[in-house]
Point group: C2
Chain length 235, copies 2
């Protein structure tokens, strides 16, 4: 059976061998949820960039700039990091340059893997089906919060592990913990998440709307993957 | 309210500020369980050392050497890393030099904190009472497995958080996740742990006995803390 492992923070990624692996990068609140939403609304590419400066440089080349620092929209950027920012039909065919505190950096860190997918509750089933069809071991990379463990990304890892459990062996304690945690709170996910530090931070300047949207399961049957330095929709 | 945070791997410790904190270091299988057992059987001091060479040097100074590499007793050492190795009445008053893959190193890493305590299920209640009586914020440092997340140390963090919940605020997602996980599996802890990677590794060359002993709650009403470079029993 193929193996499924979970890395709870990008800072622990050097401990994992990425060769031949599909890495699913997840930053539920909100980078990867927003990226999947953007692809569902027909953006053409998303280039994840670690720094504000690189993002601004790409703007001068015609890219639409999006992202956040400390959860807030960046001054001078076209868009923030709320999934609702990416539903505009004017973004059809656009190329986005996207920078966030955790998610964009995690995608760049994972880029040495054989395949890098974007994970979110919004496209959970699509990702699970893709991974089952593909014959590769899988690593779920939680973007975390400034290098620390975070709960919403771990819950996603647990949810994905649950969907894959008949097809993959759980190789490690982090996956077992995440799957057990998800199962124990799945019936009450939003309330549980409301107690987490990042969700509380998020709700300090946004309303509940983003959080609830990002926790919707299986809304979009699409996948996005890294090709060279940018993400594209692959199905 | 004082804050309680959890660090799921020593590799993430640089992200935490240890100033004024009491750090509880836990390596349930088996280093900190064995250390508490040793103090319950009246060893005088335990010096945690990161390397085999340092341990051997201390042997030439009259120390009793103990520890493991890859879960196995080290050639030429007096004792291994099973708690049952530390019940011998001949160890009364002994000075131990102790080196293990994860636990000893985590203790050394934590040594810049104001207070460093040794945590295990075996002395869970004693540690909780000590922390409640003392007016300091607390960080639980999980020793993990070669830098990665592990489940038994996370479960301990969750158990301790549960005992402290009326006196401390949970500051972070890792503590919330650990407390929720512990609560969901507490009634069936040994069976759940039997599915974890480290427990399986351990049971490959030991029997079930060590695992079950290390999971006993509140067996010893003692605490041990770091003073300079060695651990002593403090109550």
């Amino acid at each position: 059976m193929r193996s499924l492992t979970t890395c709870v923070s990008p800072q622990l990624l050097p401990l994992h061998d990425l060769t031949d692996k599909t890495v699913v990068v997840v930053d539920v609140l909100r980078a990867t949820s927003s990226m999947i939403t953007a692809f569902a609304h027909h953006v053409e590419t998303i280039t994840p960039v670690p720094t504000l400066a690189e993002c601004r440089m790409l703007k001068s080349q015609g890219y639409v700039t999006a992202g956040e620092r400390g959860g807030q929209k960046v001054q001078g950027f076209d868009l923030g990091n709320s999934p609702f920012d990416f539903m505009d039909h004017q973004l059809h065919g656009a190329k986005l340059a996207f920078t966030t505190t955790n998610g964009s950096k995690a995608i760049v860190l994972a880029s040495e893997a054989k395949t890098v997918l974007i994970g979110a509750f919004l496209n959970l089933m699509a990702t699970a089906e893709y991974l089952i069809a593909k014959n590769q071991p899988v690593l779920i990379l939680c973007a975390g919060w400034k290098g620390k463990f975070n709960i919403e990304d771990t819950l996603y890892a647990g949810a994905l592990a649950g969907r894959l459990s008949n097809h993959f062996s759980f190789d490690d304690d982090a996956t077992l913990a995440a799957a057990t945690l998800y199962k124990s709170v799945a019936s009450n996910l939003s309330e549980f998440l409301g107690r987490s530090s990042h969700a509380q931070r998020l709700m300090g300047f946004e309303n509940q709307k983003d959080l609830e949207f990002c926790m919707e399961h299986d809304k979009y049957m699409i996948n996005a993957a890294l090709q060279e330095d940018h993400l594209v929709r692959i199905n």
